[in-house]
Amino acid sequence: MSDTMQLNEPAAAKPQTIEKVSIIVSRGSLEGIYPALIMANGARMEGIDANLFFTFFGLDAINRAKHEHIKVATVGNPGLHLATWAGGVPGVSAMVTHRLAGEMEKLDIPPIPEFIELIADSGAGLYACKASVDMFHLSRDDFVPQLQDIITVGEFYDLAAGGQIIFT
């Protein structure tokens, strides 16, 4: 009995704080990109080190030609509570994106290009996945100037060492 009681006692050690996060951005839709950006910015605001690793369609978030045109996925997104056929009607994705952008502006959430700049200025590291960059036939010039490097998955793990990895 006394053994069980001991097991239930809270640990005496102080709860650990998070010192570093490495956030993987793998999706290219608006709702796929924003959570990662908000978490990276939020980490820096708490004094936590942050790295962002963009892979697959997540690369669009740092693609100079594309990151102003990120849209909400209106097809295959049950959260919108739209009829499936309606999500595919031309203009619906643009309209939903526009409405959401307005709501975010009210909350002082910046558009993606400005948000990327803010996060880079806050001292977070921005990295692109080499395999994805090669697969899409992209190069350094396709990305925002704040991109620190195009790295392999092994280099990403080196960067992430000692911190938490968050996949989005």
Binding site: I38, M45, G47, I109, L118, D121
Partner: protein, 105 residues
């Protein structure tokens, strides 16, 4: 919440050290709060942020986001992080004697 004495005046601060009542704060308290948080000396640039933060809170009832801070305080984001390394919005709010910012941005 704890009541502590600062420069001879009782002040109420929360568990993290944020002021509960901004009216209890005086400019002379900024320096000791900054030192508690690892900032050895407040420069004019620190003060620019602290005053902006406090005025924004007192006029709107909420602390500005890091985005607004970077755009409107006159101190750009990079410099904000250099001045307040452990998080500019939170630290400047603490030093300015206003409650902890609740926004996510």
């Amino acid at each position: 919440m704890t009541t502590a004495t600062m420069l001879g005046t009782p002040v109420e601060r929360d568990a993290e050290g944020f002021f509960v009542d901004p009216e209890q704060w005086t400019e002379a308290m900024a320096e000791p709060i900054a030192q508690e948080n690892g900032i050895a000396e407040l420069t004019d640039r620190h003060w620019q942020v602290i005053r902006f933060m406090r005025e924004a809170y007192l006029s709107s009832g909420s602390a500005p986001s890091i985005r607004t801070l970077g755009k409107a305080s006159g101190v750009p984001v990079k410099e904000l992080y250099a001045l307040f390394p452990k998080g500019p919005a939170k630290l400047a709010a603490k030093i300015a004697g206003i409650p902890k910012p609740r926004g996510c941005i």
